[in-house]
């Protein structure tokens, strides 16, 4: 059990205790004859807690030889992608589908792929038009509308 696994197990213990507390206090456990809405979550919470305790008991020492979770710098691209996708989602309601999709593609090409400006512009324009045609016209999906298009 390495450091990260210990942290994960500790997180799951806290989560399971919160679930048990919520099931007992906010939901009704009911009886064995007639289980209430809290019965099943309580059993799951207790199960996770038990499994994490077994995990700790079976691996009392920290494994210091294990590889780090992320090699140097490899987390940068996924984190940038997470931020870009979140901003894209906010943009859908505010700016509208086409504008936010165009900006999303520009941000992806410049922030992650490190593409040149001209190629970025072409990809963003062609990509936005293709997606709008596919979803808005061919598949007939109501695309988000915002202040712009």
């Amino acid at each position: 059990m390495n450091k990260n696994e210990r942290r994960a197990a500790a997180f799951f213990i806290v989560l399971s205790m919160a679930v048990i507390y919520y099931s007992v206090t906010k939901l009704s456990l009911g009886s064995v004859q007639e289980p209430g809405p809290g019965f099943f979550p309580f059993v799951c919470g207790a199960g996770i807690l038990l499994l994490c305790l077994i995990w700790f008991a079976m691996n009392p020492k920290v494994d210091t030889c294990s590889a780090p979770l992320w090699e140097k710098g490899v987390w940068v691209a996924p984190v940038i992608a997470m931020v870009i996708i979140t901003l894209y989602t906010f943009g859908l309601d505010i700016l509208g589908y086409c504008t936010s999709t165009f900006l999303f593609l520009v941000a992806w090409q410049l922030g992650i792929v490190r593409e040149k400006w001209v190629k970025t512009g072409v990809i963003a324009i062609v990509g936005t038009a293709a997606m709008y045609l596919l979803f808005g016209y061919l598949l007939g999906i109501p695309v988000p509308e915002g202040l712009l298009i």
């Binding site: 059990m1 939901l27 199960g47 997470m82 988000p144």
Partner: protein
């Protein structure tokens, strides 16, 4: 309706113009998915679930998704052989001898025997499915709530123990999946659970959002970490048909692989990966020249390739007859059936014979399509690898975002999808397999209902699970599996921890 009548009616459905088109489309997409490293069948099916919402025909939608699933098994071998780059988890074993054959200038023969073995095993698997599924569905009609509870318990447990990763981590994922499915209104009492006053959560999390986040988006994040630079070992593929000597050498490996694949596919958690590994180990054991394995032995390629395709066909048996998905990809197909208002299980064959027999018949057709797609067009598939992830990544994101948005026409599901994507990414970095979470999420309402019904039937007496013959036997198997796993766990305690997260 007997088997032959059913099959005939199935072919009349599968051979309709739109169904042939969806079968072809699914097979093409599946092959592409198999060829492209990183994007597995479970992720792709999850990405395409919103499309199923818009399809009016349940048979066509399942024919389409099934095509992707078994098509990926065919396509996965191409990059394993030519680039030592497995397109999906079940093709890892094919790199051992397939790549060595390619290095020795026998890439065409390797691709040929992989496609032919896949075709034979896939077709034998569908024949098995045709004849085993109806009697099994008849038998399952005897099941009541306690039997279903016991069966689902075993299914989930096997999915955790046989997936190859840590059983402890798998069990935690399984319970987390059940907890996530508890979010929303309790169907029996009507009380809200874990909604915290958020109106959008009263109906719970949408399966599509969860599946696309945990599999699709997390896959994008994982791929962004890696540079998928691969070099071709062979510029020229050469003659595709294996020689008579190749056939003679590998014929029994194909037969053994087909049988192993069929049985491994039926077991929950077994699936294609286990089938290919078992087949490789068996071929090495029965070979007169085990020292040549890993150096381009054709049996080391033919056996596992046949096994993973046999497993992909037979894994439909528990889904179509018992309503139990035995791996993450099949869980997605389970969800697609539910989206279409069809509950998979023993009543499927009598209530929706068009779907049951149509899907089975389409699998015969799909195997022929895949043989044609994979042999002469192999060069075309390899070209797919030239599409940069800088283009493919944002396209996947745009598809999934609009797919989540279209569920309720609001951005709540998109934000939930992003959250599940980040959670899936972190879980995979920590070697937690999200597969059991998806399976338990989808089975949780059925498990909860069957548990509550059983306890109501027995006035709270848990002995109902042990006193009835079928559920008693199943519970005995359940207890034996747990005891066996504890024994294995204690025995292997000193071994180093390995990370296996498969599709």
């Amino acid at each position: 309706m007997d088997v032959f009548q059913g099959l005939l009616s199935g072919f009349s459905i599968a051979l309709q113009g739109n169904n042939i088109l969806f079968c072809l489309l699914g097979s093409v997409l599946g092959t592409a998915v198999g060829v492209l490293p990183g994007l597995g069948p479970a992720a792709t099916i999850s990405l395409l679930l919103p499309v199923v919402y818009m399809m009016n025909s349940p048979a066509a939608s399942i024919i389409f998704l099934a095509g992707i699933f078994y098509g990926a098994m065919y396509g996965g071998s191409t990059t394993s052989i030519l680039l030592r780059l497995p397109g999906e988890a079940a093709s890892v074993v094919s790199t051992f001898d397939g790549y060595q054959m390619a290095q020795k200038g026998r890439a065409g023969a390797a691709l040929g025997i992989a496609a032919i073995g896949s075709f034979i095993a896939g077709t034998l698997g569908v024949i098995g499915l045709t004849f085993v599924a109806p009697p099994l569905a008849d038998f399952a009609l005897k099941f009541g709530a306690p039997e279903y509870f016991a069966l689902m318990l075993i299914g989930l447990l096997l999915a955790v123990f046989l997936s190859g990763g840590s059983p402890l981590k798998g069990s935690i994922m399984l319970l987390l999946g059940i907890l996530l499915s508890n979010v929303g209104i309790d169907p029996i009492s009507g009380k809200e659970r874990f909604t915290f006053g958020i109106v959008e959560l009263t109906n719970g999390f949408d399966f599509v959002t969860l599946a696309m986040g945990l599999f699709g988006l997390s896959e994008v994040f994982i791929t962004l970490e890696e540079s998928a630079a691969a070099e071709f070992v062979t510029k020229k593929i050469g003659r595709l048909w294996p020689t008579i000597a190749d056939f003679a050498e590998s014929k029994w490996a194909i037969v053994r692989g087909s049988i192993i694949g069929f049985f491994a596919g039926v077991i929950p958690g077994g699936g294609s990966v286990v089938a290919s590994l078992v087949s490789y180990a068996l071929e090495k054991k029965v070979s007169k020249h085990p020292e040549t394995f890993g150096q381009g032995n054709i049996c080391g390629l033919a056996g596992p390739e046949s096994a993973n395709n046999g497993a992909s066909s037979s894994s439909f048996i528990p889904l179509l007859t018992l309503g139990i998905p035995c791996n993450a990809s099949i869980a997605m197909i389970f969800a697609a059936l539910m989206v279409q208002g069809i509950t998979p299980g023993p009543f499927l064959i009598s209530e929706h014979p068009d779907v049951f027999w149509g899907v089975i018949a389409s699998m015969y057709l799909g195997n022929v399509i895949l043989l044609i797609l994979n042999l002469p067009m192999v060069g075309l598939w390899v070209q797919l690898l030239k599409v940069p992830f800088g283009i493919l990544g944002p396209v996947i994101v745009m598809f999934t975002v609009i797919g989540c948005y279209s569920i309720n026409n609001d951005t709540f599901n998109v934000f939930a999808f992003i959250a599940f994507g980040i959670i899936g990414y972190i879980l995979r970095k920590l070697c937690f397999d999200p597969g059991p979470m998806i399976m338990s999420f989808i089975l949780a309402p059925l498990i909860e209902n069957s548990l509550r019904q059983s306890l109501l039937m027995s006035a709270g007496n848990f002995s109902i699970f042990f006193s009835r013959p079928i559920s008693g036997t199943l519970m005995a198997v359940f207890v034996l599996i747990i005891i066996g796993q504890i024994y294995v766990g204690i025995k292997n305690r000193k071994k180093p921890n390995t990370c296996v997260v498969e599709e």
